[in-house]
Subunit: 508 residues, 4 copies
């Protein structure tokens, strides 16, 4: 399945170090800024993203209750990211782990897509099987058992490049603009196409390929869900550039802002990549594509609770810099920290409310509340931007005009920077510069990509949430409430009418 | 305890009708617009507020799981408003009942203050007793048993008139500007002073009097908590005017907007009102005053979830009027309804998140999360205003320029109004006017008082929440997160440091 | 022209008192809450709106430079409200007068519609004549000369009741849902239909009737512009209800909040009302209807600068109440007053910028800038609501729960209110109550209608401004700027391409 | 004065090319990322900032009315940036030039600080002379004449590094933390200290050094204003890092986003730099320091109108990308472009309103309106961030995950990128990528520094504007308006009381 002997020998990944070793010596075709990357693990621009994933393993050791579970398939302790949620409490614990990892890394740790993907698939395959007498659900459980056995990282690949947005997949001039089956054999299927901005794909062991939107009868070849190892034949990875990405190549450790952790997004191109039958979880059941997308986005929009953890770091950085500047007692400064917190906790609260209000699907797997998941994610498309703006306010102009660390460490002018960029005497100039660079990193630099732009578009752009809120908002129910009070209609026991969102709101 | 024979004969109030009857023939001194009101039950300006409370009883019959509980003291089914919460689920159910009552009445149903008051007292008396070897807790349970027996409405009276805000109670020129003990006898204490804008006081059977803020050693006589029957001697009620209040006196039913339900706030003036020892739950323990206020506001700020129910009505009214105007398909119209919903559900989600994240106090009683309760209430000081603004946008100018119902029903000009204010043919002009009046009622009129101004100031004005968020926001913890990532401090297992808010966030 | 001998004898209105007398003894058919009103001047609910118009005359005497001009038609000093603007400075002075009147009345003074109407007509009639060889322009100047001679109040009647918004006027089931010509004779035309929420119509001497939207060839009979005396035959006025309107009938002067001034909006119904040829300024030139509407809204959206004057009053009230409460030094209080001011001045600045950037039409009359007028009005649909919200924040809960003035003045309980509602000792309780009532008046009560709801819908609802900004925003010009900098297109002298909005921006 | 023979030979700079040549062969001590830069003109990271200044010369040739004036000192045509404003129209034309240059460069063109500095100095020196019988004003005019003769770029150096913000300059532990006079001789003075984030300093010919805040009697040595040539002895420049700055060093032209233009900010360190008497415009008159700072910020806060020009570019880029993605017709897309425009024009309108409302100082020089300048700048601290957020919304996730241009041009994988990142067929993939990189550049990358962070802090951070609005808001005047309408005080002719802001509002 994977050609890395390291990982084959270590049957199960336990620590961050195990994980990092598991990524070595794989035969991946990766391009980064026009160069083929042979060893991503040691590449300074890629390594921070690997470190962020490694922290998911280390946290599971330090805080097993939070970040791991006992696998119902293997009976062994595995990452919570591989868990099928069987209660509302399970979903809430995902959120708590996400916040903690956001706090510990200050960036995207890349494992939520996979987690939300196979949770969605768990219930959707169950329902496909029920409707079409297929056997995807049992195959998925077998696949999950294998993942649990090795405690692997599984990514999810959904977003097609899409071409002309006004046309269905089969209507595109170039049929590859959505990933599709190009050939079927007795052993399985071959797929071609490309998935854009795939989070953490190179840092995963397996990827689950899924359709990205509602499909019609003529899109059958696009209705393919399957798992492929990341080092499968026929895959090319082209690394996405991030703001300030090359600072990691400069040899320092201050100007990077967050020298340890970063996110990763790459374009994944499939050219006749093979998926054997065992790893196929949908093939042609186009009528279930939209259900899969909807379930996935419901989980995933609530997963953006992670940003409240990242926000904690940025609030902390802002609090640190105002202290270093000696202005932490000014009322407007304190008030801005309160405002940042108010926004940040709103993300957290709406996200966990969605989890707490979850309900069981037929498969036994739980699903969080759709309305509140969308409310949460919609805040995420705005609030981190405002928190970042306030952090820049509190940070001062140096956030964007500060000399480099090479100047600070320069034998001739270093003392001038040390003298003139000094803040409060209890901190060194270098400490002040480090915090300023962290703020730059999170508001303009490399981790602004994850904190801002990905917050905007990940799990669907703002309008996608508005559409979903619109679908769930049950105006007929609300109009009736108004008409009764306006004296147009008679009251009566409205409970009988409850459905959809309000059914969940008022469930006891 | 009460001079109303009706209520003495009916040992326990069951229905809304029982409740309304229980308010008859009481000997209260009520002034409304300069007039003494002998029978508030039949007064057109007061009755809607009584109806709103009555609906809490009727809902308990229609939906017992939602709005009632089995009393642990009496073993009988009583209103959920009288319940001591013993789990997070109990607190969430309070929120669900609050939303439903907001939906059913479109206004303030006035029972949350009392509910939150004795829940706070439950744990605070326990802790006072522990510290001071007093016996308030057992007296409180006896009092609650009595309330449960009769299924009474209990109000809470906290907000003093305050005088000069820069002075402590004992420093005020007029010592009565905060309610205080004026005399102590063997039987009990006598109190004087005034409580401003007391919600639903006249519609209650009992009131719990409490201090309104942190007290010092010299404020001992202000550290009084006790229960008084609403018809106790020495109490004067002066009814608060509400916008458009006198429309209820005009004899029609359209221009009132919501002809059935309204809120109630009055000034309550005590002149040597007696409280016997049995009904005293704090007397002089000034060091517990701030704890009581803090616990009360924690519960009560989350209780503002009720406004999401009121918001449902206003969203419904907006959806109804755009349909009557024939513009419901315009994309900007739909988008505004989505925005209203997004805001409204944010109130709900942050409120229930606070309840779900609640924890047990020493007394056994649960307390919701302080940070999230403040985040919820702080949104409530803004979002209903924006929802109201959007409702006026969707309603059109007629919301504030429409002729009266007397014109509509006028023999000579009625037909002109009918002709010219006609919207979509499937609705009558009167129906359209009724919905417009409901929007006026909720955004400018009588129920705007509850939906807007009370949302602003109830349970503490906006700055009070910002102070509380500031206290709970744990900047030291967050600064450390930032310093670790900035390379200033070393990481390490941060779990050991957890306290306060983050202790609750990361509890498993 | 008018049957009031008072006004015929006094050839020219000079003072507010003259004006008020000019309204007496007219034969108008007015209904208010189902009653026929014989003498509107002395009706307590109507009088405040008359006082507001009267102040436009008195201001012209106290500050002639600001509020009056020398008529180019008569050579005599007349109200600036009757002036045809012949320079950008003229337009800016309209704004300054509007702000001052907003400050002096705290409400809508009702004369801007007329002012903006005949300024629009001035250029549009010129251009109709040019296109169609008609002679409307000269007739309009004669009409204006007459208005200037008497220094009359002229209103503008535009907003039709509209019926089904998806149908053109001629397609409506009931042809009267837009005002139209029902008969043509040698002397003139007869019109029928209704105009909704007409500002200050009953307080005017003449009204200019205009179409409300773009018309097509089949809507010729709706393409009518003409002047009618307010007391013309066949007109019925039905007074619009306002929040708290009947407080004026209670006999007090505190609970009204602003006892002197108010706004006025009524429905005006025409039943075969005659317009002689001399007073017709468009008849059938449907192709100019949209130009007229567009010019009118361009002037009128910028006229909402008046709300910055009203905002000054509300900010002043908020500043007064925090002082009376003794909290004016708190940093969050000061900050909220700053925020209110920031918003309020944004309204003013965007409005005068539109006037300053005005340009000359072919007729010689100036027209303010369309883009900036829309930007101004669009802020007006939001900022007063936020200012009002902040005023309620600063005012405290008493804004909506305060006892009535009858209670304050009551022989038995007055002293209790005086005692318990006392704020800072340098103010009386009554003074404090008066300011609280003023805040109620402007945020919930009668003048909230003008400050909020009319700010939302007057001169077009929010979406109307967005459409207009969308039309004027010149995306092609901006896309070219971006493409040049992105290296897709070559730069070059972009000046040659200038048109539309940017032509005005870059005119020297 | 300058050691560059090029510039001495060319007595007057006319074109951008002249200007660029004038910067060659100067003997400046510049450090950039730890390296001494001998030839900034040809340094890829510095050159874009030079190009932006060069465009100010080229625009003056292409559009002389907009970007140049006839010098009153030399009678020759010079840059408008060197002009002393003698009318409101002059100030408005500055704004129009600023917007145009923002449009043409998409970044900060760096000349406003100098322009606003000597305009402030013009009136302040006049008033110092009047108070202290000094002769600074005439010296300033001589200096300006020299600048006009050569048509030089003059920068302004104000922001000291400040050290401990709670201490006055003379109280700092290190006396150099504010620039100060270290020695006085018969010929002039010597200064030491550092100015942080100095815009365009290296691209200037002269710099005017000024104090940064109110000074006291003990700060006399800090009360120094003087002009120094940029290549004066004793100055070290340390270049500020910008987000993505090194992309200019990569050899491509797409990933830079805006390959031609950029901003510049550096730290300027003075070590005993000499200023001869002729170039000293304040020496010890500490009592005028705050007036100078206030006048400067008044001009400069309104100068942020430039950001509306930069905003035009970003709106254009957003409009281009949605067209390239084929979604430009979606209503929510159009609406976001309208919103961006609404915000952008608010910046423009409030800025020009400040200029239009300017008034004459005693020196004859005009000063724009303080309140409106602060209102403008305060919007600039927020609106560009929201415009940038919306641009990222419209741009899609590729804004932050797109492969590099080296990948696009790579012989092996270039075709894959071309195939899969294709949008609408009328555009090439490269064109689409260029627009996406421009959006990245303006929202995260190099020009985000100028468009966002500098918008936040330049001319004073947000709180500085709030303080200034607070000072100018005339609450006493407004309280009186409220009290009159509330019936607490009598009306009367309020004109007599006018002062401050309202004096300007109501000036005729």
């Amino acid at each position: 399945m994977t050609k890395n002997p390291e990982i084959d020998n270590h049957l199960k990944i336990q620590t961050g170090e195990d994980y990092i070793n598991s990524l070595r010596n794989r035969d991946l075709l990766i391009y980064l800024m026009g160069e083929k990357i042979v060893d991503p693990v040691e590449h300074p621009m890629i390594r921070p993203s690997i470190n962020a994933v490694a922290e998911t393993y280390d946290l599971a050791i330090r805080e097993p209750e939070l970040a791991s579970v006992i696998s119902p398939f293997t009976g062994e302790r595995i990452s919570r990211f591989l868990h099928i949620v069987h209660s509302a409490a399970d979903m809430v614990l995902q959120n708590k782990m996400q916040r903690k990892l956001g706090q510990n890394t200050g960036t995207c740790f890349q494992r939520c897509v996979g987690m939300d993907a196979f949770n969605s698939l768990y219930s959707v395959t169950f329902e496909i099987d029920e409707a079409h007498q297929t056997s995807y659900h049992v195959k998925l459980k077998e696949f999950l058992t294998k993942m649990h056995t090795h405690n692997y990282v599984v990514g999810g690949a959904m977003t097609d490049v899409k071409g002309d947005r006004s046309l269905a997949p089969h209507q595109q001039e170039d049929p590859d603009l959505f990933v599709r089956i190009t050939k079927r054999t007795d052993e399985g299927v071959y797929i071609s196409g490309a998935k854009a901005h795939q989070t953490g794909c190179i840092n995963s062991h397996w990827m689950i390929v899924m359709p990205t939107m509602r499909l019609g009868e003529n899109d059958k070849d696009y209705a393919i869900v399957g798992a492929v190892p990341v080092d499968a034949k026929g895959i090319t990875y082209i690394y996405g550039r991030q703001s300030c990405d090359t600072r990691s190549m400069e040899g320092g450790e201050i100007d990077t802002g967050n020298n340890t952790y970063g996110g990763q997004e790459a374009m994944v191109i499939f050219e006749d990549t093979f998926i054997p039958h065992d790893h196929i979880f949908m093939d042609g059941e186009y009528d279930f594509a939209s259900l899969l997308v909807e379930r996935f986005t419901t989980y995933h929009r609530r997963s953006y609770v992670c940003k409240s953890g990242v926000g904690d770091v940025l609030i902390g950085a802002a609090a640190a810099i105002v202290e270093m500047n000696g202005v932490e007692k000014a009322s407007h400064i304190k008030d801005k920290l309160v405002q940042m917190t108010h926004l940040n906790e709103t993300i957290y609260a709406t996200g966990i409310a969605s989890s707490y209000q979850g309900h069981q699907t037929k498969s036994g797997c739980y699903l969080c509340d759709d309305m509140l998941a969308n409310v949460c994610k919609h805040h995420v498309t705005k609030m981190p931007y405002e928190i970042a703006r306030l952090a820049q306010d509190l940070g001062g102009g140096l956030v964007a005009t500060m000399p480099s660390e090479k100047d600070l460490k320069h034998p001739e002018i270093g003392h001038l920077i040390d003298k003139y960029l000094k803040g409060k005497s209890s901190y060194t100039t270098e400490e002040r510069m480090r915090v300023l660079r962290l703020i730059e990193n999170m508001t303009l630099g490399r981790n602004a990509v994850g904190y801002l732009t990905e917050s905007m578009h990940g799990a669907g752009s703002p309008q996608a949430q508005r559409i979903q809120i619109g679908r769930a908002m049950q105006l007929e129910y609300k109009k009736r409430l108004a008409k009764v009070l306006a004296g147009i209609e008679n009251a009566g026991d409205t409970v009988n009418e409850l459905s959809g969102y309000f059914e969940r709101v008022f469930k006891i």
